[in-house]
């Protein structure tokens, strides 16, 4: 019942921009809808016990690939968007067999280093990526000749992808795959002893989550119309972790709630001007101290106690 009420509340929140009919509200809603799938992709990694700092880089790969494929090769934006996701996924697929043999803090450092390398490539390869001056002139997204120009249209696009990403992560969560992933996190040795190929499952999750991040990056590129390496730095990966921690990592709903709270929070505090970041930090601390298991824990109670 609680879950239904919450889903109803999320649906009401989703239609709120049309009720407010204000471009600023639409922009915040669009940014939530772009960040939510990213938070979901990070959630998948956290479920297998791997804290990835590479997801900002995957978003960047998707963003730059989508923009450049449209700008330089003239691919239709939808094809570019999907190719961006595929390219991010392929990168993860190639790196996964090496990266995912390592766990814990070493994995964090490895993915952090990868993120930095990708960011440096965006900065230094100016003829392709535009360097620190950025890549501009990205055409608007279009589908079957219909060009998306209004922020409300990008909101619909981002919302649609959020719904798809949520549905897929939820489906994984409820399926046997979800149980396997949980077992990999909780007791890998036991899981392997009953036949689960731990590394292959980890690579699959890494690849799938990178694809989600890449497509989100593509939507971001077409929406903002300008890319600079700074948008895909270390801070973004930290933000994704924060969304998961505040929303809760135990269910797909958690990162969704985390994005809904964390993304607009700086905007709600904008009036505070120079104290904006200070109050933002304090708000996050309050969440972390008083709702340790995340917002989703207020709804989800443990269904059964272990025997």
């Amino acid at each position: 019942m609680k879950r239904l009420i919450l889903l109803a509340a999320i649906v009401i929140l989703a239609v709120l921009p049309w009720l407010a009919n204000n471009r600023y509200v639409f922009h915040i809603a669009t940014m939530i809808a772009i960040m939510a799938p990213l938070a979901l992709s990070m959630n998948l990694m956290l479920r297998i016990g791997q804290l990835s700092m590479a997801h900002s880089a995957f978003m960047g790969i998707g963003a730059y690939a989508s923009a450049l494929l449209t700008m330089r090769l003239g691919l239709p934006p939808l094809a570019s968007l999907l190719c961006g996701g595929v390219l991010a996924a392929l990168t993860a697929l190639v790196l996964g067999p090496v990266f995912l043999r390592i766990k814990g803090v070493y994995f964090v450092l490895l993915t952090y280093a990868f993120g930095q390398i990708v960011n440096l490539v965006f900065q230094e390869w100016t003829s392709l990526f535009g360097g620190n001056s950025g890549l501009y002139g990205i055409p608007k997204f279009s589908l079957a000749g219909y060009r998306l120009t209004a922020v409300s249209q990008y909101y619909v696009l981002a919302l649609l992808f959020t719904a798809i990403a949520y549905w897929m992560v939820r489906a994984i969560e409820r399926s046997d795959i979800g149980a396997i992933l949980q077992s990999l996190n909780e007791d890998e040795m036991l899981s392997r002893s009953i036949g689960a190929d731990a590394l292959s499952w980890r690579i699959a999750v890494f690849t799938f989550s990178a694809a989600i991040a890449g497509i989100s990056g593509g939507i971001y590129a077409f929406y903002i119309g300008f890319l600079s390496p700074q948008a895909f730095g270390f801070q973004l990966s930290v933000d994704l972790v924060v969304m998961n921690v505040i929303g809760g990592t135990s269910a797909a709903l958690g990162p969704l709630l985390g994005a809904i709270v964390v993304v607009p929070l700086p905007e709600l505090l904008r009036e505070a001007k120079q104290y904006q970041l200070l109050i933002y930090g304090l708000c996050l601390m309050v969440f972390l101290i008083f709702i340790k298991q995340g917002l989703v824990s207020l709804i989800d109670r443990p269904r059964r106690k272990p025997a």
Binding site: Y24, H27, G131, S228
Partner: protein, 386 residues
């Protein structure tokens, strides 16, 4: 119970957000500022936010800005973009759609590039501090650059050095990025054209702090000028200090990125003695001292000298609004830039309209920059760029 609390919190948050929806106040002209008010870019961002506030306070103290026979109060609304394009878009949407802003000052290149199409589509008149040549194109109508770029003032800076500096053997040092590459190419070409011997150039990563290996190599070339170009002032201070420690006792010049206070802070007054540096402001100028004092009274710190450029940019904007005679007609205001310029800057120099040679359109306020030398830890103006 907890769910109830959660919903209460969510509703309160929404109410807080919606309560910010305000209509544009009637007899007020609002100037929006999008700049990094926090983080490493804050000294520039605070200058961007405070300069129009100082100007607005002056105007409001005299009763307001008279436009078309009606008097308006001038209000400045400044938002932090943290140097991020997405934050700048959020700030822009808030300024335009909630705060009712039609006039804007934008600081960073990233924000400008992300917003330039919005500015044209929404017919918002914006003044930008972005150096990038790509910000303004022949089709640009509503976006104006607030000062001269290195391409405008470096030629006359180096020509001044030809006439006033006896040293001729130069090594150019710049950050290893697009800005640094462009600055290196430009200054090498100009030094050669002006009869200097360019011994070579060196590039470094912006995060670098230890320059001893690089400086050892440079000093071995026996230069008598090390040109620091677009190196950030704080890093320039570090390079100067480390070079002095290695025994380099010749000249340093810095044709880009003003910031003598940061250079002295990094190098120490003794090591920084004699450094030739581009300046936005003449520290001894009465007009600059007045606005710098107002800044210090408001913020509690000395300003970055770029304050003067933002003050002049805001002043030109308000004069254009006055000239247009109707604050609601931004098309008229954009066109009025051509008729209010030339006009005097706060320092008494002439501001003019130009930029066509680089951007294909006259949407740039051409400013006079100063050539300063550091003496006893203080910048002293010894020349002007054209």
């Amino acid at each position: 119970m907890k769910l109830k609390h959660y919903l209460t919190f969510a509703t309160a948050g929404l109410a807080l957000g919606l309560s910010a929806l305000t209509a544009m106040a009637a007899d007020t002209i609002k100037i929006g500022v999008i700049a990094p008010l926090t983080g490493a870019g804050a000294p520039w961002g605070m200058a961007a936010a405070e300069a129009p506030k100082i100007l607005a306070a002056d105007i409001n103290a005299k009763g307001g800005l008279t436009v078309g026979g009606k008097t308006y109060k001038v209000e400045v609304v400044a938002y932090d973009d943290q140097y991020k394009a997405a934050e700048a878009v959020a700030a822009y949407n808030r300024l335009v759609n909630q705060d009712g802003v039609k006039y804007m000052i934008i600081l960073s290149s990233a924000a400008t590039m992300a917003l330039k199409q919005n500015v044209e589509d929404d017919e918002v008149v914006a003044v930008t501090a972005a150096y990038t040549a790509k910000a303004i194109e022949p089709s640009t109508k509503y976006l104006f650059r607030m000062y001269s770029t290195p391409a405008d003032y470096v030629p006359s800076f180096i020509a001044w050095m030809k006439d006033n500096v006896k040293e001729k053997r130069v090594v150019v040092v710049n950050p290893n990025d697009e800005t640094g590459w462009d600055q290196t190419q430009l200054s090498e070409k100009l030094f050669k054209e002006n009869g200097f011997e360019v011994l070579g150039h060196e590039l470094f990563e912006r995060a670098q702090k230890d320059f001893q290996p690089l400086l050892t190599k440079i000093i071995a070339m026996k230069p008598d000028i090390i040109e620091l170009g677009g190196t950030s002032p704080a890093t320039a201070g570090l390079i100067i200090r480390q070079a002095r420690e290695l025994g380099y006792d010749k000249l340093f010049s810095k044709t880009g990125g003003a910031g003598p206070a940061e250079i002295v802070a990094g190098a120490g007054a003794k090591a920084a003695e004699g450094v030739i540096n581009m300046l936005y402001a003449d520290p001894a100028n009465e007009g600059y001292r007045r606005i710098a004092a107002a800044y210090k009274a408001s913020v509690g710190q000395d300003p970055n000298e770029i304050l003067v450029s933002f003050y002049d940019g805001a002043n030109v904007l308000l004069k254009a609004i006055q000239k247009a005679g109707d604050p609601s007609d931004t098309g008229k205001v954009a066109a009025a830039f051509a008729s209010v310029l030339p006009m005097p800057s706060v320092q008494g120099d002439q501001l003019s309209l130009g930029g066509k040679a680089i951007s294909g359109v006259d949407n740039q306020i051409m400013t006079v920059n100063y050539i300063g030398v550091i003496r006893d830890g203080q910048p002293v103006v010894i020349g002007k760029t054209k």
